[in-house]
Structures are given as structure tokens and as C-alpha cells.
């Protein structure tokens, strides 16, 4: 039964995918949604069982084995994976259903549904993996599904490009991941999670030499693995693909680029907690990078005009919080935020999708406005999502985000304090941009033309029902889950699926953080909302003035801190320039010119010269003969003497 959870989506994907042109839209929808529903039911039941103490490792089939390397298709069922599976299944099912409405008019709907189901399969394979290689299988698989879905509208040049970009940037992360796997195998002689953790004590203290300098093996492995997580979870430096990925259909953005796939990095870090706990350096690095991401993405989100891009940067920022939490050894908090975020961010995205749907595909917030009255349900749901995102009680985001910020304070480390500062700033900014987004989209007068106006409508039930369900999640999940995930009972809840060193007490201490620490985020959130309302609702000219006044900063933010430009210059341009150089200069002008072509030219030239020796004159011939005789004779004589 457990195996059915990932296999059902796979079956749906294969069924619908292979016969996508013969199967009708309705049947495709029916099959995928039904399979997903069953899978979700199973996953929830499993989750329930696991909470009650069930744990197992299920070997479905061998994959390959060679010596000590044994890799099997297997499922590691513990709290971590069960929670993840439940989240993935629930969100995925809702997105499946939502797509039925959203993509109704698309001609190749079966293909889309197949991709969605395929994605779900890979994601489930990832989270239920019992070893690094299967995890990598899922990891790359979701990357593939993401590539396919971003580029789903392949006639759009930008969509196709964004798909490739997403895949490639993820590959850069995978570069680290693969090497991390290799290093793990070299050090631990196994890739199975349990065995790795068991052998950590033996490996502690051993060192790698990387290009000359020594680095502690565990730290090296952790950093390499984290590089993979950076790619997938869009951390600063490898985040550049995420905003572009918004080229894909909105349900895709909700499912993949908000709720599930991007959190795979965080999940992996939690899964590997048994290893990361042993490397203070790696954890410190993770904390700093997470905090930086949280702050950076929030700043950029403030100036974006594309609705989905704002949410995308917001996702990026929230992922920063989760990673930061991992760096603080607050894995429970990370998973908590992951779960709540899955609900409210999916909600936000789908609501945004509903809005975009209503506006016939318009995504630019400058061309929206005044929708409050026209689509009130969406407006309401947007509020729910937004408040949850900002972290206003009793919405779920409040619980999960606050605990992270508190843990940052109670860790009492330098990276922790750094993270605390940036996270709080992030909260302020989050509130600002969320308000800005809401106001620009729904308030004021409409800024679109009549033709669009006539088209504006509330979404069909297939879209609004998932939205309502998600809204419930966004409302309730925080309060309901907080005791299990981060509360006093969390140890019993996680039961070894998460490992925390005894001296990493940040999360435990977080409950006893000073009162000002506890209330600071909330205060900042409210302040941010106020600021947002002030700038965009009341003094509408203020932002423009500010932008003019702080022009360099504005430009800096608009260009996303020039990270993209830097990448283009550093990697893309230089790689192509280098490639041209190697091809024309290396292959053609050097290797060929000195190698085969060069030699054959020399030989031919020599041949031509030798041919001239044959002058046709007898006395030249005689001379050659005599030269030979004299030389050989002289040789004999010289030898004789």
C-alpha cells in the first residue's frame, strides 16, 4: 500500500503521457485526479500511522549493487518523509484539481496533467528515498519535470529559455550534490542514510585535500551537499532560475516553485541532519547564506512589477528562512515553515493564478487594480495568504516564522545574530511588498481596458474549492501543528528522523526567548503593512518620489542586485567566448593545424620538393649514384679506420 503512494502518480503519468494524443481531456483529468486523490488518502493515512509510531524501510526492488555500493528502490518511512509525502500529495492533488479549471482550454491538457503527475512521482521518490542515489534520482527527476513544465508553452521563446535556465542552474547545484555523493561514498563506503549517520564518528577528523588545501571531510561533504540544496532551494547565488521559472503556467508555479520542489533542498538538509550536525562550519555558512537569501529576495520583491515574480521572490525569501533554520539546527522549525509555507504560498500562487485567469493572462500589476469588487473571493483568499506570509497571528506563517527568528536569537552565535537581524528586516520588507502587491492588484481603479473588463469573472469551482482548502490550511496548519513540529512534543514526533546534537539548543531555548524578541517580528510585520498601505494606498506618489530620490538603490534592486548580469557576464558570455576560442583557436588553429593537417601539408610539401630532385638530367642521376657510392664507401672506410 505504501508503495502505491509514489506509484499511483507514476501510473497516471505513464497512462496519460503515453496516450496523450488519443486520450481526451476529460479522461486525462479524471485519471490523474483520481489517482492523485487515492495517493493523497494513502499518504494521509500513512502520516497518521507514522505519528502513532509506525516506522519502516521498504525495499521495493533492487536498482544496482556493486561491492559495498548497494542501491535499491526503497522507501524510508519515518516522520520526516511521511510529513513531506502528505504535504506533497495534498498540494499536488489540489493543484491537479485546480488545473482542471485553469488549463481547461489548453489543447494539450493531457500532456500537462501527465507532467504534473510525473513531477509528483519524482517528488515522492525524492522524499521517501532511503539513500542518496535514489534521492538524486528524484532530485533530477523533479528538475526534469520542472524543465518540462516551465517550458510547457514551448512556443514562447522566453518559456523555453527559462526552462533551460532552471535546469542548468539546478545542474550547477547538482555538481555539488554529485560530488558530495561521491565524497560520501569515498568516506563512508555507503550511501544509505542510516549507515552514513552510524559511521559519522569514524570519519570525524579525517580530511580531504582539495586542490592543495586540507579540509575536514565532513565539512567538505556538507558544503558540497548544501550546494545541491542551494540550487534546488534557490539560495542566493543559485536563485536566478526561480523568477524566470514563472514563465510556466501558474499551477506549476504553485506546486513546483513554491510548495514542493524548491523545498526539496531544505528537506534534504533535514534528512542529512545526522551529518550536518557534526560540522559547525557548514552550519554557520548555511545560516548566513539562508539569512542573506531571506533578506536579498525580500528587497528585490519590493520593486518587482510582475505579480508572479513578486511571489517568486517572496518564495525565495521564505526558503531563506527555512535554510537559516537548518543552519541553526532548528530542523523542526525548518520543516514547520516548509509545511505552512506550502499551504500559504500555494494559496497565494493559485489565487494569483485565479486573478491572472480572470484578467486573461495579464501578470503586470501596473495593469491591474480595482479587482476587489469583481472577484471578491479571490481578494479574500489573497488576504489570507498575505497575512500568513507576513506572519500575523493566528495565520500559520506567524507560528513558523517566529520560531525561526527566535531560534536565531537564542542560538547566541555570531551567524545567529546576523541571521536574526536580517530575518527581522526581511519581515518588514515582506510586509511591505505583500501589501504593495495586494494594493496594486485589487485596490484603486482598474488600469486595464474595457475588453478585459468584460472578461473578468470569478473562477469556476474546480479552481475555487482547492483555493478554499488551501486557505484553511494556511489558517489552521500553524496552530495545529506547532506542538508537534517545534513544541515540547517535537522529540517524540520526529523520533530520530531528525538528529540534533545535544549542545545545539537554539530551538529548545526559542520558547524562552525574551519578550521583545518574540514580539519584534509581529511589530515589524504590522509596521510593514502600515508602510505599504501608506505608500501605495494613501500617498500613491510617494513610491515614485522615493524611487527617484534613491535612484541608485532602486536600480540596484530592479536589477536584482546585478546577480543575473554578473552571471551572464561571468559564466555565459565567458563560456561561449572560451568555447569559440577553443574551437577555432584550439581545435582548428592549433590541434588540426599542428596535427593532422599540418603534418600532411609538410609531407606534401616535402613530396613536391623530392619530386624536383628527379630533374630528368642524366648527369644529376649519375651524381646521385656517385654520392651514394662515395658516402657508403666512406662509411665503410671510416668504419675500417
Amino acid at each position: 500500500m505504501i508503495a502505491a503512494i509514489p506509484l499511483l502518480p507514476l501510473g497516471a503519468a505513464l497512462l496519460v503521457g503515453l496516450f496523450s494524443r488519443r486520450i481526451g481531456n476529460a479522461l486525462a483529468l479524471f485519471v490523474t485526479c483520481l489517482f492523485m486523490l487515492v495517493a493523497t488518502a494513502l499518504a494521509l493515512r500513512l502520516c497518521f500511522l507514522v505519528v502513532r509510531g509506525f516506522e519502516t524501510t521498504l525495499v521495493l526492488a533492487p536498482w544496482f549493487s556493486l561491492g559495498t555500493l548497494e542501491v535499491a528502490w526503497s522507501m524510508r518511512i519515518d516522520t520526516l518523509s511521511a510529513v513531506m509525502m502528505a504535504v506533497v500529495c495534498v498540494v499536488s492533488t489540489l493543484v491537479h484539481v485546480y488545473s482542471a479549471g485553469y488549463m481547461r482550454e489548453d489543447v494539450s491538457l493531457p500532456r500537462f496533467m501527465a507532467y504534473l503527475s510525473l513531477f509528483t512521482f519524482f517528488m515522492l521518490a525524492l522524499v521517501s528515498a532511503n539513500d542518496l542515489l535514489q534521492m538524486f534520482f528524484g532530485w533530477e527527476g523533479v528538475g526534469l519535470a520542472s524543465y518540462l513544465l516551465i517550458g510547457y508553452w514551448h512556443h514562447k521563446e522566453s518559456a523555453a529559455r527559462a526552462g533551460v535556465k532552471a535546469f542548468l542552474v539546478n545542474r550547477i547545484g547538482d555538481f555539488g550534490f554529485v560530488l558530495g555523493i561521491c565524497a560520501t561514498y569515498a568516506m563512508f563506503d555507503t550511501l544509505v542514510f542510516g549507515e552514513i549517520f552510524a559511521r559519522v564518528p569514524d570519519v570525524l577528523g579525517r580530511e580531504f585535500s582539495v586542490f592543495g588545501w586540507q579540509i575536514e571531510a565532513v565539512t567538505a561533504i556538507c558544503l558540497l551537499l548544501f550546494m545541491g540544496a542551494m540550487g534546488k532551494s534557490a539560495q542566493l547565488g543559485l536563485h536566478i532560475w526561480l523568477p524566470d521559472a514563472m514563465e510556466g503556467p501558474t499551477p506549476v508555479s504553485a506546486l513546483i516553485h513554491a510548495a514542493t520542489m524548491v523545498t526539496a533542498g531544505v528537506f534534504m538538509l533535514c534528512r542529512m541532519s545526522g551529518l550536518f550536525e557534526y560540522s559547525e562550519d557548514a552550519l554557520a555558512f548555511i545560516t548566513c547564506l539562508g539569512a542573506a537569501t531571506a533578506f536579498f529576495a525580500a528587497t528585490v520583491a519590493v520593486v518587482q512589477n510582475d505579480l508572479k515574480r513578486v511571489i517568486a521572490y517572496s518564495t525565495c525569501s521564505q526558503l531563506g528562512y527555512m535554510v537559516l533554520a537548518v543552519g541553526l539546527s532548528a530542523y523542526g522549525a525548518a520543516m514547520f515553515h516548509l509545511t505552512t509555507h506550502a499551504f500559504f504560498k500555494a494559496l497565494l500562487f493559485l489565487a494569483a493564478g485565479s486573478l491572472i485567469h480572470a484578467l486573461n493572462g495579464e501578470q503586470d500589476m501596473r495593469k491591474m487594480g480595482g479587482l476587489r469588487a469583481m472577484i471578491p473571493l479571490t481578494y479574500l483568499l489573497f488576504w489570507v495568504g498575505m497575512l500568513s506570509l507576513v506572519g500575523i497571528p493566528p495565520f500559520s506563517g506567524f507560528y513558523s516564522k517566529d520560531i525561526i527568528i527566535e531560534a536565531a536569537w537564542t542560538s547566541h552565535t555570531l551567524p545567529g545574530l546576523f541571521a536574526f537581524a536580517l530575518a527581522n528586516l526581511g519581515v518588514l520588507l515582506t510586509a511591505c511588498y505583500s501589501t504593495r502587491m495586494l494594493v496594486m492588484s485589487f485596490h484603486h481603479r482598474p488600469r486595464f481596458d474595457e475588453q478585459v473588463m468584460s472578461h473578468v469573472h470569478e473562477s469556476p469551482p474546480s479552481m475555487s474549492i482547492p483555493l478554499l482548502l488551501l486557505a484553511c490550511g494556511a489558517l489552521g496548519s500553524g496552530y495545529l501543528l506547532k506542538d508537534w513540529f517545534v513544541g515540547n512534543g517535537s522529540d517524540a514526533f520526529w523520533r530520530g528522523s531528525i538528529f540534533v546534537e545535544d549542545y545545539h539548543t537554539a530551538l529548545l531555548d526559542a520558547h524562552h526567548a525574551p519578550r521583545w524578541v518574540k514580539s519584534l517580528p509581529l511589530f515589524l510585520g504590522v509596521l510593514g503593512i502600515g508602510l505599504g498601505l501608506l505608500c501605495y494606498q494613501i500617498l500613491t506618489t510617494l513610491p515614485a518620489h522615493l524611487a527617484r530620490f534613491l535612484r541608485p538603490i532602486y536600480r540596484f534592486l530592479c536589477e536584482q542586485w546585478y546577480v543575473d548580469a554578473l552571471y551572464r557576464l561571468l559564466f555565459l558570455k565567458s563560456a561561449f567566448a572560451l568555447a569559440h576560442l577553443l574551437w577555432r583557436g584550439g581545435d582548428q588553429k592549433t590541434i588540426d593545424a599542428l596535427g593532422p593537417d599540418g603534418i600532411s601539408n609538410v609531407v606534401r610539401w616535402l613530396g613536391g620538393r623530392f619530386r624536383l630532385l628527379q630533374s630528368g638530367y642524366v648527369y644529376h642521376y649519375v651524381f646521385a649514384v656517385l654520392t651514394g657510392v662515395v658516402l657508403l664507401g666512406a662509411f665503410a672506410v671510416a668504419r675500417h679506420l
Binding site: 613530396g607 628527379q614 649514384v625 657508403l632
Partner: protein, 497 residues
């Protein structure tokens, strides 16, 4: 009876050949011109074949053994000529080759568009005389015998080269060949005289004994040896004594060139081998580097100078120089193994050359005999089988497996490596890569280039020879050891003395 038998086992084939040649000459004179040529030609082919069969048969005869010539030794002739396994092997090759050359030459000499002066029965007679000289060469055991054989062959060949009387190129080829050939004869004679002077005898065994005794100290002996070797190097066209080769090959009538490039090479190489082993073996230290140098120069110059050629005959000339170079690597090892490899190489080379000449002699472009490489283009269309056969020959010439040419090269290189002549083997490799280039260029011309003119092959017998040689080089791969064993037996006799 005893005398006759002894005679047969020393010089019998030559005597029969000489008598028969004279009879054929008479016959030719008696008949009218038109019939004479054809008849004489077929009769001589038959004669050569019969002689070859007789020789092969006598190798099976119990009276024939390499030791049995102790009786023949006693006779005067026996001191000068010897029919041992080696001589027998080479003689059979010479006779068969000549027969084949006569056969495939028919279509060329009889072609009215070539020259009226070629199609005469004297042409056959002269070839037979040259063959006689070659037979003498391979059995020669004294300097005099060597000289007589060589001269008989050369004089006949001079005439052959200039045989196309009304053709300027032919006569120029003849003249050049004569002038340089005379020079080489003179070198040979002077060398022989020095050898005679230092040894006091003209017999190989005496030279061997003298060289054994004080060879290293006698300057005259060594200079004589060098001069003799130079003269023979001229005959086998090793660089730098090769200069006549391209010009003569190009100018002389193709039928002559076929003879020149095959039978005469066998005889000269056999002579060289016998001389080196039976007379100069103790001077190994002296001649080994000389032969190695000749090999090196021949391989490199041959390989390089072939590249720009556009005339098939000139092309063959230079490629022959390359082959001789590789073959001489075997000589340079001075071991039975190397000599065996060289002999093996020679046999395969002859087979390949015969096929090539069978094609060349039959090649007609717009009814005219063709010599341009470019004319081969389109042969794969007009005559796919011949093109296939020719490309097999070319691959074999290039020494590519699975053709016999590969094994030829294989054993030469093996012998070189065993004798620590790795540098020579490496040069051989370089040369064969370059030479492969121009062999496969012929394949390219036949198959890849757009056909420009309509070329055809005439003559059924030539076609058959072409096919047979191609099949031979392809099938020899299956069973190379028979030929290898015979070469080994032949060479072993030389080293036994």
C-alpha cells in the same frame, strides 16, 4: 645419365630455357609475322610454366636435396651455379612471374594504338633471354656467374625499354636506363675486381672464408663489397641508386615495365640475399648499417615522392621504391628471420604488382591505353568488379589487414623489432602511413570522385589475373603459413652454408 642429372640439378632449367629460346627464335623467323608473335608468345608461356612445374617437381625428387650438390659441386658448373632450395624457390617465382607478364602483356603489345613496333615475336625472345639471365642470377655462386647473369638480364632489359622504336619517351627511357645501367655494371665490375684482388678467388664460398678469416681488416674487401652492393642496389632501385626508376617506368612500354618491376626485382633481390648471406655474412657489421640506410632512404623518399604523382607508372615506380625500402628492413636484420620476412614480402609484393599491371596494361580510356591516375575515376561504375579487385590490391599494397600485404609488413616489422632495429621499424611505420595515403587515394579516385571519362578494361586474361591476384591477397590471410614455410626453407639453405 648421372652427368645429365647433375646438370639438371645445377643448371638444367637454364639450359632448357636457352635452347628453347633459340628454337623459338628460329620458329619465329620461319613463320609469318602475324602468326609468329602470338604463337611464340603462347609457346613461351607454356615453356615457362612447364619449367616451373618441373622445378617444383624436382624439389620433391629424392635426388634433390640441398646437400646433394656436393656431387654437382665437383663439376665446373657446380662451382658457379647451384640449384638449392633458395634458387629453386626464386626461380619458380621468376618463371611464373615472367609467364604471367607475357600473358598480361599480350593485350598491350597487340594494341595497334600503342605501337606497331612492339608487336613482334622478338619481344618475347628478349624477355626469355632476360629470364635466362635472371635464372642465372639466382643460382649464381661466383662473381663471374653473377656478372654474366646480371649482364644478360640488363642487356635484354635495355632493349625492352627502348622497344617502342617510334616513341620518343620509350627511347629516352631506354637510353637513360642504358647509361645508368652501364654505370652500375661498371661499379659491379670494379667491386668484383677488388673482391677478387683481396680474396684471390671469385667464388662466394672463398669470399666467405676470406671474410671470415680477415674480413674486418681488409679494406679492399670492404670497398669491393660496398661497390658490389651499390651496383645491386641500383638494380633493385634503392635510394640513392633509384634515379632511373621513375623515368624508365614512365617512358618504357608498360609491358616492359611490368617485367622490370616484378621478375627483375625478384632476381636482383635474390642475388643480393645470396651475396649478403653466402659471401658477406662475416662482414655483417659493415653491411648491416649500409642496408639499413638504404632502407631508410628508400622508404622515406619513396613515400614522399609518390605523393605528387599523377601518372600511374611513375606512381608505381615510386611506390616500388618504398616497398623495396620496407623489404630491405628485413635484409638489414641479417637474421634468417629477417631474410625470410623479406622473401615473404617479395612474394606478396610480386603478386600485388602483377595484379596492378594486369589492370594497367588493360586500361583503356577512349580506346587509348591510359596512364593517368585520374582516368581511374569512374572505374567503380564502368567495371565494379575490377574496381573492387584493384582496391583490394591497393589495400594490400598499403599493408592493411586483412590482406596479405599486412602479413608481409607484419613479419618484416617483427624481425626488425627482434633485431633491435626499432628505429627502422618506426620509420617503416611512418612511411607506410604516408604510402597508405596514396594507395587509398587510388581507391578514392575510383569510388569517391565523379567519373569523368569512360574507362574500360580490355582483355579477358588480364581481368582474370587481376581477379586472381586480388583473391590471392585476400585469401592468403587465411593460410599465410604455407608461403611462409617455403620462404623459411629457402632462406635456411643460405644460412646453412
Amino acid at each position: 645419365m648421372e652427368v645429365l642429372t647433375n646438370l639438371w640439378f645445377s643448371l638444367g632449367a637454364e639450359i632448357v630455357l636457352a635452347c628453347a629460346t633459340l628454337l623459338l627464335l628460329l620458329l619465329g623467323l620461319l613463320l609469318t609475322e602475324r602468326h609468329a608473335t602470338r604463337l611464340v608468345c603462347y609457346l613461351s608461356i607454356a615453356l615457362l610454366l612447364v619449367l616451373a612445374v618441373l622445378l617444383m617437381w624436382s624439389a620433391q625428387n629424392e635426388r634433390f636435396s640441398d646437400a646433394s650438390e656436393t656431387t654437382a659441386m665437383a663439376s665446373l658448373i657446380g662451382r658457379h651455379f647451384r640449384l638449392d632450395t633458395f634458387a629453386l624457390f626464386c626461380k619458380v617465382i621468376v618463371l611464373l612471374t615472367t609467364a604471367c607478364v607475357l600473358l598480361i602483356g599480350q593485350v598491350f603489345v597487340a594494341d595497334a594504338s600503342v605501337s606497331k613496333s612492339l608487336y613482334r615475336f622478338e619481344y618475347v625472345i628478349i624477355i626469355l633471354l632476360a629470364t635466362l639471365g635472371m635464372c642465372l642470377m639466382v643460382s649464381a655462386r661466383s662473381l663471374l656467374a653473377l656478372y654474366i647473369g646480371l649482364e644478360l638480364q640488363s642487356l635484354a632489359l635495355y632493349i625492352c625499354a627502348a622497344l617502342q622504336r617510334d616513341n620518343l619517351r620509350s627511347s629516352e627511357a631506354g637510353l637513360k636506363y642504358f647509361m645508368l645501367g652501364a654505370l652500375s655494371s661498371a661499379l659491379l665490375l670494379f667491386g668484383c675486381s677488388l673482391l677478387y684482388g683481396s680474396v684471390g678467388s671469385i667464388y662466394f664460398d672463398a669470399i666467405l672464408a676470406a671474410a671470415h678469416a680477415d674480413g674486418a681488416s681488409s679494406l679492399m674487401l670492404q670497398v669491393g663489397m660496398v661497390l658490389t652492393l651499390c651496383a645491386i642496389a641500383f638494380k633493385i632501385s634503392a635510394v640513392p641508386f633509384h634515379m632511373w626508376t621513375p623515368d624508365v617506368y614512365e617512358g618504357a612500354p608498360s609491358s616492359t615495365v611490368a617485367f622490370l618491376a616484378t621478375a627483375s626485382k625478384v632476381a636482383a633481390l635474390a642475388l643480393l640475399m645470396r651475396l649478403l648471406v653466402e659471401a658477406f655474412m662475416p662482414l655483417k657489421e659493415a653491411w648491416q648499417p649500409i642496408i639499413a640506410l638504404l632502407a631508410l632512404a628508400s622508404m622515406l623518399l619513396g613515400a614522399l615522392a609518390t605523393l605528387p604523382q599523377s601518372n600511374i607508372k611513375r606512381f608505381i615506380a615510386y611506390s616500388a621504391i618504398t616497398h623495396i625500402g620496407i623489404l630491405l628492413i628485413g635484409f638489414a636484420t641479417a637474421t634468417p628471420e629477417g631474410m625470410r620476412a623479406a622473401l615473404f614480402y617479395l612474394c606478396i609484393y610480386i603478386i600485388m604488382s602483377l595484379g596492378l599491371f594486369a589492370m594497367l596494361l588493360a586500361l583503356r580510356n577512349a580506346e587509348q591505353p591510359s596512364e593517368r591516375l585520374a582516368d581511374l575515376s569512374g572505374l567503380s561504375h564502368s567495371d565494379p568488379k575490377a574496381a573492387l579487385a584493384l582496391s583490394a590490391l591497393m589495400f594490400s599494397m598499403a599493408g592493411l589487414p586483412p590482406f596479405a600485404g599486412f602479413f608481409a609488413k607484419f613479419y618484416v616489422l617483427l624481425a626488425a623489432l627482434r633485431s633491435d632495429l626499432t628505429w627502422l621499424a618506426l620509420c617503416g611505420v611512418a612511411a607506410s602511413v604516408v604510402s597508405t595515403f596514396y594507395y587509398i587515394r587510388i581507391v578514392k579516385v575510383m569510388y569517391f570522385d565523379e567519373p569523368q571519362e569512360q574507362v574500360v578494361l580490355t582483355g579477358r586474361s588480364n581481368r582474370w589475373v587481376l581477379y586472381l591476384t586480388a583473391i590471392a591477397v585476400a585469401l592468403l590471410t587465411l593460410q599465410p603459413s604455407t608461403l611462409l614455410r617455403h620462404s623459411e626453407q629457402a632462406v635456411r639453405v643460405l644460412f646453412a652454408s
